[in-house]
Structure formats: C-alpha cells, structure tokens
C-alpha cells in the first residue's frame, strides 16, 4: 500500500520521501546547503562530458556520497537507444544500477515519449537496472511501465521546470490505485503546497529540482519542501475529512443560555 512503511525502491530504503535534483543552483555551496536543508537522501545527477580543466571544482566535490544515493538521469535523450546508452554510461560512472529514465519527445514541453520510454524500460530491466521512468500522468502508461519491471513510476505533476503544480490530481489518484510499485511525482512542483498536495494524494514521494534551485532563497525553499512533504504525508496517513457543501459546527449548541 502506498505511503505506508518506509519507502523502498529496488531494495534501497529511503528515509526521506523527497528526492532532489542538483541542477540550476546559483553555485555548488548553495546546492550543498539546500540538499542538507531538504533532508533528502537521494539526489539526481546527469551524465555529461568531464571537464578537462581540473582546476575547476566539480559537482561531486559537494556531494557526500556516504550520505546521498546518486540517481543518474538520462536527461536530454530523445530515443530509447540513446537513453539505454546513457544509462549504461551512468552505471560505469556510478557503479550502481539506479536510473531515472527520461526519454523526451518534444523540446518545448519536455513531455516524455512514452513509446520509446517503455522500450528503454524493457531493455534496461533485462540488463539488471533499477529503472525509475519519468512519465505522463497516464494510468495506462504507468501500468505498462510497472508490468515492464519498473522499480517505481514517476508521473509528472506538470511540465519540467514549469512550477504549475499538480495539474491532474485525479489521474495521480487513479495511478496510485492501479499501481503497486512506488509512485514518485516528478516535475511540476512550484511551491510547498504543490508538494503537500502530491503527498496528500498518497504519493510515495516527490522529486523536484527547479522549485528549490530557482527559488530566491533555495536553502529556505528546501526546508519548506521538506516540511511540506512530511506534512502532506502525515495528512494522508491521518485521513482527511470528507468535503461537504455546508457548514458543520465545531462547537455544540448544548449548554447555551435560553
């Protein structure tokens, strides 16, 4: 059942339900502080050409690998073949089988190409990867990815970096009912309430980058997101009251003077 017990993805137990990206921060020290404030224990990274100028600092100088599990992505890949290639390169760099699988179908929206995504998922699962595909908020696609062996399914709340929030909470709710593997809402979060909404729906976790990195104060926003994810998760576990059209008094009329 979603949201109950510790979050486990492909045998990895996560204490925090917030996964954070490492892109777009003003600088590495800010990123480092923001990651700490977020309470996360899994951070995403990209695979790119190494900087041959060794005098410059690198991302990994600022990430404590004893503390954070790296989740390499396949950002920028537009076909299954390319995404498979980048996953294998990531495995070589990181010596782990985790991958946040992205196969993008369109440059402007960065919406996933689900056909290629499913194809890549099948290949990588066979190859021993722990595959976490980034997909649309489409329950049927989510089911196909689960059936293909995805370790978690990561539907978007809204387009990457858009900050539009959870545009279709009903689909996320249906996905949660249909899918057994962990559901991580990935992309679209703009502010703390968006993260809380995703968690209140029963999502197992939230993955975000721009909402924190692009905030005026990324460290404060990271703390806000930690609290929002925790609050939303607790509210889900607590079980909210049903919505009603009319008032229902909190104070009894009994005992009022006549």
């Amino acid at each position: 059942m979603h949201g109950h017990g510790p979050l486990k993805i492909g045998g990895i137990e996560l204490h925090s339900r917030l996964i954070v990206g490492t892109g777009k921060y003003p600088d590495f020290p800010t990123m480092q502080k923001a990651l700490e404030a977020s309470g996360t224990d899994m951070v995403t990274v990209a695979v790119r050409r190494v900087n041959l100028d060794r005098t410059q600092e690198s991302l990994l100088d600022y990430i404590d690998l004893k503390r954070y599990t790296l989740l390499p992505n396949t950002a920028g890949c537009y076909s299954a073949d390319e995404a498979v290639k980048y996953s294998r390169l990531a495995r070589e760099v990181g010596m782990s089988n985790l991958v946040k699988l992205e196969v993008i179908g369109d440059q402007r929206t960065l919406f996933p190409d689900n056909e290629e995504l499913l194809k890549a998922t099948k290949i990588l699962v066979k190859d021993g990867f722990i595959v976490m595909p980034y997909t649309n908020d489409d329950p049927i696609m989510a089911k196909k990815l689960e059936d293909a062996g995805a370790a978690a399914v990561m539907p978007l709340g809204a387009p990457i970096g858009s900050g539009l929030g959870i545009r279709n909470p009903h689909n996320i709710a249906i996905i949660l009912q249909m899918i057994q593997v962990p559901i991580i809402v990935d992309a679209g979060v703009g502010t703390a309430s968006d993260a809380a909404i995703a968690m209140e729906l029963g999502a197992d976790g939230v993955l975000m980058n721009t909402a924190i990195a692009g905030a005026k104060d990324p460290v404060k926003m990271a703390e806000a997101m930690r609290k929002a994810v925790e609050a939303g998760h607790l509210a889900y576990l607590a079980g909210r009251i049903p919505k009603k059209s009319y008032a229902s008094a909190s104070t009894t009329m009994e005992g009022m003077i006549e």
Binding site: T22, G23, K24, V47, R48, L59, N73, L89, M95
Partner: protein
C-alpha cells in the same frame, strides 16, 4: 598520434592505454565512464585497451542535473 577526445583533437603517444590517458588527464581518481568509438569500456579493461589513431574517445562523469 591523434585522437578525438570529447569532441576535440588531442595528441597522445602511440599505444596509450585508457589507464594512461586518464592519468595524463589527471582523471584516474575520479568517477568517470569511458567510451571509445561508441563502445563503453568497462573499468577492468582500462589497463589493456590501447587507443588507435583517429579513435573517438569520450570521458564522461556526473554533472548537475534534475
């Protein structure tokens, strides 16, 4: 001899192994992935794989990303 390293021409000595190249680049202690002409070279082959003139070599690592 000349190879293409991360998209740029580079002069290396004949019979340079992947290990040797990474040492020359001061990358041997970093987490990297190496691809030669579209083949990913596994870590345990770094010592034995020798580069040939015209090889297209890519050295990749983890960078910031979401």
């Amino acid at each position: 001899m000349e190879i293409t390293l991360n998209g740029k021409l580079r002069e290396v000595t004949v019979n340079t192994t992947v290990t040797r190249l990474l040492e020359e680049l001061k990358l041997h202690q970093l987490r990297v992935a190496v691809q030669v002409n579209l083949d990913i070279i596994k870590r345990d082959r770094y010592e034995t794989v020798e580069l040939k003139p015209g090889d297209k070599v890519e050295v990749l690592t983890f960078m910031a990303g979401g």
